[in-house]
């Protein structure tokens, strides 16, 4: 396995493409965890719902319309999720909430099969992003560059929102010290609604972006959920900065692993999770939002 494979631009871009998709998904999960202290095992199912809605909307309208409409639809789903599940179960233990979201994922899966059937669907990239372009000597799909741009753009926007807006500051406060923040007059319920909608909206965005990048099939939710959990935990539960860093590391480990030790590549993410959870339980970040 000559090493030139490792350092050519295409492999670097592949790692960033995977990292950007995971970042969008993981930051959504980290937000929900930061605010509601709930590890949402249904996040993969939201992502899959986003991909299937993306398929339908881009067929009827256009891919660009889907990029806007689907995250909003998922934000609505997020609102229902917050009001029907997270808020009433605030007092319950973290484990109970996690198990309920696990049950939800089991419900959303078959619901999607009922509507869209079980055959894998293919979503074509819009004409503007369909071709490939010369990237420092090798042909590289335009769509993936777009994906990298959107992925990190979303994260920058999220970081700016957290840093410079009032609701962003409240979010950081609540995720660190919920009781004190409540005493300071932060309406945590209203804020949680906003944040959960944002989190599931991000999952919808990731779903739509995944259409042309990967394939839309019934197994996509479960496979990416485990990667997403690893990224969030390794990044530090509830920390957005940590989640972004962990997503990039995860992307590189996955790509480099595939090139250097193809069969062991599959093990790399799990070893990463084991080492982090045991050696540094709060993960890379400071274990709180941003």
């Amino acid at each position: 396995m000559d090493l030139s494979q490792l350092f050519n631009v295409a492999q670097l871009a592949n790692a960033l493409a995977l990292a950007s998709l995971l970042t969008i998904l993981a930051s959504g999960l980290a937000l929900i965890f930061g605010l509601r202290d709930a590890m949402n095992f249904g996040h993969g199912a939201f992502y899959m719902l986003g991909a299937y809605l993306g398929y339908s909307v881009s067929n009827r309208l256009s891919f660009w319309a889907a990029l806007i409409v689907v995250p909003l639809l998922l934000a609505l789903v997020g609102a229902v999720f917050e009001l029907a599940v997270l808020r009433p179960l605030q007092k319950r233990s973290r484990m109970d909430v996690a198990l309920i979201t696990f049950g939800l994922a089991l419900v959303i899966g078959p619901a999607i099969y009922k509507v869209w059937g079980t055959a894998p669907l293919s979503v074509e990239a819009p004409p503007a992003l369909a071709g490939s372009v010369q990237l420092l000597g090798t042909m590289y799909p335009v769509y993936r560059l777009f994906l990298i741009a959107v992925g990190f753009g979303a994260c920058v926007a999220l970081a700016l929102w957290l840093k410079y807006t009032r609701s962003g500051m409240h979010t950081r406060a609540v995720s660190q010290q919920p009781h004190i923040a409540r005493m300071m007059g932060v309406n945590t319920d209203r804020l949680s609604l906003l944040v959960v909608c944002l989190g599931t909206g991000f999952a919808g965005l990731a779903g739509v972006l995944a259409g042309p990048y990967l394939s839309v099939d019934p197994g996509m939710g479960a496979s990416i959920l485990i990667s997403c959990l690893i990224v969030v935990v390794v990044g530090g539960l509830g920390s957005i900065g940590g989640a972004i860093a962990a997503a990039v590391v995860y992307g590189f480990i996955q790509v480099i692993g595939t090139v250097l030790f193809p069969s062991l590549a599959v093990l790399a993410p799990y070893l990463l999770l084991f080492v982090v959870l045991l050696w540094r339980p709060q993960g890379f970040g400071r274990g709180r939002v941003a």
Partner: protein
């Protein structure tokens, strides 16, 4: 088609008419069990398989069934794991009263089922699993196979590889039983003809992003062989198009990669790809043409190779029942061994030594059809005796 087959065809029809008068052992419908998968990557093709089997049974019943009894299809779906397949087969055999099993049995399912067939007292006529083991060490008295195993695909490629004149090869296959055995066989084949395999990559099942593999394959060689199935194949095809990978190769060969029932979803991503294909509607033979006509009439779509394999399996079973004059598994097994049967593949033999149907196999290319739709055109067709390897000594069926 030589007229002898036409005459034997008429004789077989007569025979089936005469059958009702001879009192057959057992009465009521002859039940055929169909295994389908309801979750995982193969689930999306379950209704396709069921439709193929149901249409085949309807055609046979229209031709008078066997021994004056009609055939009846009993369908049982399961979650797709080998253990679930065994449980579903047990239910069909003990609860459904079926005397033969067929359907969506992947290699791992058939390998798990074979040791149980005797205890369940049921035959299995496989149309799905491709593993070579089922022709060698994992043979069993009650196990028959109609579809083409991997070894055959590799031998089919032999002449085609020589014809392309390509010297350097890249391979990408699923890190999966079928993928592993094929890659090994193909590498030996290429080296045998003085060629070299530059890269042989394996991608775990359920890989979504093939970017890192495609970038490695971008280091060109003369030809590329893709052994990826189902949704993995579809993802690879789409992403390869985005990378413009196929344009870098003179020849691209698919094994289970471009299949007719995925052709529509694959679209132009696979234009020009040559794929091993064991059957197309355009194959010669009166019975084949008649089958295609009736299939389109009943199912409102063109039959794929999976439907043809199911039809052949049903025809083989009918011939066994007619010869044995009973649907009792042990009797049908003895009757089938060495039997020459008229099927849509023509007059073919069910080899006694390893219970494999010696039928044809081919190589087809994806071309833009007259109506603008992509379709397969057979480039090479080989008859069974030319390509089936001699029966393996490891295989014990008595």
């Amino acid at each position: 088609m030589p007229d002898t087959t036409r005459r034997t065809l008429a004789a077989a029809a007569l025979l089936s008419l005469a059958a009702p008068f001879s009192f057959a052992q057992g009465s009521g419908p002859i039940k055929i069990g169909l295994l389908t998968i309801d979750s995982g990557p193969f689930a999306s093709y379950a209704n396709l398989i069921e439709q193929g089997a149901r249409t085949g049974v309807d055609i046979l019943n229209a031709e008078g069934g066997a021994l004056g009894r009609k055939f009846e299809l009993v369908v049982q779906s399961h979650s797709g794991t080998p253990a679930a397949a065994v449980a579903a087969a047990t239910k069909l055999a003990q609860q459904g009263g079926v005397s033969v099993l067929m359907g969506q049995t992947q290699s791992s399912h058939s390998l798990a089922l074979v040791p149980k067939l005797d205890a369940l007292n049921v035959l299995q006529i496989d149309t799905y699993a491709q593993s070579n083991d089922l022709m060698t060490k994992s043979c069993a008295p009650n196990y028959f196979r109609v579809n083409t195993p991997d070894a055959l695909t590799t031998r089919m490629m032999q002449d085609y590889v020589k014809a392309t004149g390509a010297k350097t090869w890249n391979l990408i296959s699923m890190d999966y039983a079928a993928g592993q055995s094929f890659a090994k066989g193909f590498t030996e084949l290429v080296q045998g003809q003085g060629g070299t395999v530059q890269q042989s990559l394996f991608s775990p099942q359920g890989t979504a992003d093939f970017g890192s593999y495609i970038s490695q394959l971008s280091k060109p060689s003369d030809a590329l062989v893709v052994t990826l199935f189902m949704s993995d194949g579809q993802s690879f095809a789409k992403q390869a198009k985005q990378f413009g990978l196929f344009d870098k190769y003179k020849t691209v060969i698919g094994n289970g990669f471009a299949t007719d029932f995925q052709l529509e979803a694959l679209g132009d991503n696979v234009l020009g790809v040559v794929n091993s294909l064991s059957w197309t509607a355009e194959l010669p033979g009166a019975r084949n043409a008649q089958y295609v006509k009736e299939f389109v009439l009943r199912a409102k779509r063109k039959p794929f190779y999976t439907d043809a394999d199911l039809m052949a399996a049903l025809e083989v079973y009918r011939a066994g029942v007619v010869k044995a004059k009973s649907s009792e598994p042990a009797a049908v097994r003895k009757a089938l061994e060495g039997l020459r049967i008229d099927t849509i593949f023509g007059n073919v033999e069910m080899r006694a030594a390893d219970h494999h149907l010696i039928r044809q196999h081919g190589m087809a290319q994806v071309v833009k059809g007259a109506n603008g739709k992509n379709e397969f055109v057979m480039k090479v067709v080989k008859s069974g005796p030319d390509i089936y390897p001699p029966p393996s000594p490891e295989c014990k069926v008595h």
